[in-house]
């Protein structure tokens, strides 16, 4: 008797056939599972810990944990004091913790560097969502003041959300996602970076996913003549993958997610490449930005785009 490698392999195969007679069916389940959204698992322990702190300490800790600019902007909105701020900042995380969403998936995924917000409640502005800010600069106000359709404005007749987190089974359809883009100023002087944000709302009747990583939630800037001068998907050092969705969120009907980005006013000078390796500053002038979500289901190659928002570089 010997430990025959091939014979033992055959035993493995036979055992595997018994456990999983239809591997192709399971393959689909595995792919779907891999594409499910992150559950903010890495932040849950911190959020649970913060709940035990006093409200004042919780605000300070939240500022450090979730990124200064956004947390401070919340504090600046004057929404009835620190308790409200702390509650708004932490409630999405705590709600998930309470719901026990530990599916064991996605814990090893790297967070998208500029994903700034978890889905918010219907009608809630971007400031009311939990956030993990871009270390460079997360725009404090995703929409320029006075713009129509500013992010955060509750849509009339928005559906009532389910009170508990919902498990979606599919990516949103392009017809069920309304995107509004915004800038943190109307005009930028000198070398001021430009803060972009987009707010995506699930206008459908069922919960669904949207991908929020840097390859699927993107901003595109065009000049006054409509020529595309910048696309944020060229920014990552690692070339964007159409396949790998590294970060996504579930949106219940009416819920929103905000994604922001800080543009350093450069354009790519090696067009046609997946990753930008050479840049040059763009000239002063009038520009417009659109927010785009790809990887969706439905028409337009699964891409939903916001109306353009104009801004000026002085």
């Amino acid at each position: 008797v010997s430990l025959d490698r091939r014979e033992l392999d055959r035993e493995f195969q036979a055992l595997g056939r018994l456990i999983c007679p239809e591997p192709r069916q399971v393959a689909r389940e595995v792919i779907d599972k891999a594409r499910r959204p992150r559950r903010l698992k890495s932040l849950l322990p911190q959020a649970q810990h913060l709940r035990r702190l006093s409200p004042a300490l919780a605000v300070g800790a939240a500022v450090m944990m979730l990124g200064g600019p956004l947390a401070l902007s919340l504090a600046g909105t004057g929404q009835s004091g620190r308790n409200t701020v702390a509650h708004q900042l932490l409630s999405p995380l705590l709600r998930e913790a309470d719901a026990g969403n530990h599916d064991g998936q996605g814990g090893d995924q790297a967070a998208a560097p500029y994903l700034t917000a978890r889905a918010g409640a219907p009608g809630a502005g971007p400031g009311a969502t939990g956030a993990a800010g871009h270390p460079a600069a997360a725009p404090a106000n995703p929409a320029a003041p006075g713009q129509s359709g500013a992010p955060g404005a509750p849509g009339p007749g928005a559906p009532t959300p389910s009170p508990s987190p919902t498990t979606a089974s599919t990516y949103c359809n392009t017809t069920d996602v309304a995107i509004t883009a915004g800038t943190d100023r109307k005009a930028y002087s000198g070398s001021q970076p430009v803060g972009f944000a987009m707010l995506a709302r699930n206008t459908g009747r069922t919960a669904c996913f949207v991908a929020t990583d840097e390859c699927h939630a993107t901003f595109q800037v065009s000049d006054a003549g409509g020529r595309l001068v910048f696309g944020s998907q060229q920014e990552p050092v690692t070339p964007c993958s159409a396949v790998l969705i590294t970060s996504s969120v579930t949106l219940d009907p009416g819920q929103t997610v905000t994604v922001s980005y800080s543009w350093n006013r450069t354009q790519c000078t090696d067009p046609g490449q997946l990753t930008c390796t050479q840049t040059s500053p763009v000239p002063a002038g009038s520009y417009s930005v659109t927010g785009n979500l790809s990887g969706l289901n439905g028409a337009n190659n699964g891409v939903a785009t916001s109306p353009p928002v104009r801004f000026s570089l002085l």
């Binding site: 008797v1 055992l15 599916d103």
Partner: protein, 172 residues
Amino acid sequence: VGGFDWVAGFRGALAESAEVEFEGFFADSFQRVVGMAAVVSGDPGLAEDAAQEAYVRAFKRWDRVRGLDRPERWVARVAINLVLDGRRKTRRETPLQPEVEHAAHDQVETIWVRWNLGRLTPMQRAAIMLRYVDGMPVADVAETLGRSTDTVKTHLRLGRQRLRRLLTEGIG
């Protein structure tokens, strides 16, 4: 910037072709991986969980994993590590049918008896499987199992001692 349009336009097609490729890889290799994980752990349900999780991780990194010489080895390593961790999710999405689980358990015991593997610890079984069945160098086995090379050599030596009546010279 000329690159943007075609990148956006072909994304759907790229994603679809990668899925088809991954499905083929899964269909070709999953049964062997889950079988090996079941023999290591002695628990077919845990093995299926671990193997599925390993393939989920592979799909998330498919751009990289597909380029490996033997992607199925990468998945087997992850699956075996997971069964050694012994973590089993409390909520399973597609639990094994009880009769399947019982039959698979019987099959595992048959294999253990036939190959005298039941007397080994899970770590020794894992070391033996990776080294002698998968043909992995000792250093790679050590890295896979998160143990030092000396520790793995010890596991292999103890495993071989228990198996010595069954092993041929060729694989020792």
